[in-house]
Subunit: 394 residues, 2 copies
């Protein structure tokens, strides 16, 4: 994958800095993006208008030459790291090696990510190298504009995600409505069906399709009324169950994201109305999404639908704790939450932006309702990367 | 879990600093350790001799009060974050809030982890707060000494790990020796048994026991000769298969670690000898482990066994690419690799240190052999936290 880094070149020129430096392991998305390399321990990547260079341990040298997108791969041992470490300790040795390597690339001043590590930065400064934290989102804005290859990677992850959502549907289809002595519950294969059981099914399904995930939301009833509650315990009939899955492909490291809300049994009039409204809000967002439209305008389209129905939003009442109480969406890529914003402070959408559209309604007295698809902004509108149907009852 | 942080108090006193500050999300082990809190976005923890305080978003406030070990929980909104952000942007607003919160705790100078984020540090410095990267491993040394509760959490993770190793044994037991046209291979349920298939079994087994893992090593033949190769493709009979599993408990975030080497079929004389020698090296390490003994001495005990048998080690030949080409072990806890070192630069072992003992031999002509148990240093020696048997043939 060859990203277009011209915006970073322009930034360096206007800031009068020689290069952009990353010091992080491969789980850091900017490191992964610029180096095209994944390693479990921190390594260093330098971007300049002339080259992308990386500096790794001897252990990673062979693999880095094969796998990274750097033009230029060096190892610590090329700069007498061992003897420097024996004399000065490993931290100082590493700083001296990086400084010498930067000098070899004619770099005396660098921009760095805002969360670049403090100790290494201070040690480079002590050696006369200017180090400035870059706070203008230059690299994260570049990362937001996906190449065709990145879009395919996200699409593949969403296919795996849909298999997990189907597995969830299958569990709920097969479940029966029973009684645990404390009101109605769902039962499956002779046991109470819990949030934990459904999550395990989701994780196993994703694992078989090469995806991993840290967390999943399977939240029922009052849990579902809090958009950040992951859910736990028995799942109940006649109450909305929010299922929000955001896996990461192990191979490509790109994410997907999707939410559906299900009711087993009778949803009742209010939840039916919430479902219809939320579908309508989603469609209003889709109608708005095209290049040049702001994330704020897409968010406003969603708020309009809810407010026209007499429901509160954070736009109509910044202190409301019920109604539509989050933003409409976010970018998805190497990070599950990244630019662009689809929220009150969201800027212009551009072709290649991959964003979620996830309107929702919440009330502790009623429960929660959220629907979420993943779409890519195209030259003339958008394409929905999600194929899973939207249905309330299972 | 209440850690003993007196060493950090002593450090702050000797360095003349008011407090220790962490700015990271809950996946950062030092953040997790000091705050006792897990959140997906960065939050701030301050340790002083008087208090542990944390500063979180409103979203996390309720949960932080319930779950964290802080005496004192504040939220950004307590310091007018919203209006500061509207005026100065989110980065600068956050810096001003942290500075005001530090002032409320009478803190004007801080130590911070070496990989504390640069941008936030520079912005605190601009507001007159002294920020120094702590490079003496103070917190990681404290983290190395486990409490009884932490030891139980690691033991539980090792139990899950043993279930995964049993599942691996079951697969290899059930496999047959077939032919894929390119020499002998293992077959299972009508298909060639691959490294990937075994890893999936391991992951699924761990998932069912509440553990996750990023990577596993299932490496056969030439792959096994490189201690850092994760392994791929068909597993073959009559060749050593190294299985190294290092899961993390999802609930406690503590790790386990274990390695076994198996041969399906006839190992041959050389691998049999390597197995016996490696068991002997492991026992030599166990004999050495007690409080006051250095990690270096434990490593030397392993090197003695291999060198006495005429095999090279990095101690006898720093350039060797065959024989015993890594260190004997490492600490295990919130990080899978942490202090103490059981290597040429390993310092004194102390009660509560949880370490791996993992001698091994490697040669691209022969393959690889590694055995690894996890032990805790006790007042009068050590206790092995691993119950899985050590057997070569399956």
């Amino acid at each position: 994958m060859e990203p277009d880094l011209s915006q970073l070149e322009d930034y360096l020129a206007s800031a009068g800095l020689d290069g952009y430096l990353v010091d992080a392991d491969g789980s850091n998305s900017t490191q992964r993006y610029l180096s095209g390399f994944d390693a479990p321990d921190p390594f260093v990547t330098l971007f300049t208008p002339e080259t992308t260079a990386i500096l790794v341990s001897s252990l990673e040298f062979g693999r880095a030459k094969k796998e990274s997108r750097a033009d230029d791969v060096s190892r610590l041992a090329d700069y007498e790291y061992r003897s420097l470490a024996a004399e000065h300790g490993t931290d100082e040795a590493r700083a001296r090696v990086v400084a010498a390597w930067l000098e070899d690339h004619a770099v005396g001043s660098i921009a760095a990510p805002d969360r670049f590590p403090l100790g290494p930065a201070d040690r480079l400064r002590e050696r006369g190298i200017a180090v400035e934290a870059e706070t203008e989102d230059v690299v994260t804005e570049i990362r937001a504009r996906k190449t065709d290859e990145e879009i395919e990677w996200i699409r593949e992850a969403q296919r795996a995600n849909e298999a997990a959502m189907r597995a969830t549907n299958d569990l709920l289809d097969a479940a029966t409505i029973g009684d645990d002595g404390d009101g109605d519950v769902l039962r499956y294969e002779g046991e109470v069906l819990t949030s934990e059981r459904v999550k395990r099914e989701i994780e196993t399904t994703l694992l078989e399709r090469g995806c991993a995930l840290d967390e999943t939301i399977v939240a029922c009833g009052a849990d579902a009324a809090d958009p950040h509650d992951r859910g736990s315990g028995p799942l109940r009939p006649h109450e909305p169950i929010i299922v929000d899955i955001f896996p990461q492909s192990k191979a490509t490291k790109y994410h997907a994201d999707m939410t559906r809300t299900f009711v087993k049994g009778d949803p009742g009039a209010e939840i039916r109305e919430w479902f219809d409204l939320t579908r309508e809000a989603m469609d209003a967002a889709f109608d708005a999404i095209e290049p040049g439209v702001t994330g704020e305008a897409v968010h406003d389209a969603v708020c309009d639908v809810y407010e026209d129905a007499g429901l509160p939003t954070l736009r109509s009442d910044p202190t409301t704790e019920t109604g539509f109480i989050h933003s409409t969406g976010h970018g998805v890529g190497l990070d599950v939450h990244e630019l662009p914003r689809v929220s009150p402070d969201g800027g212009e959408l551009e072709p290649g932006h991959v964003i979620t559209v996830e309107p929702g309604l919440y009330d502790p007295e009623i429960g929660g309702m959220r629907l979420e698809d993943l779409v890519v902004v195209t030259e003339d509108g958008h394409e929905n990367l999600t194929e899973h149907p939207i249905e309330l009852r299972v």
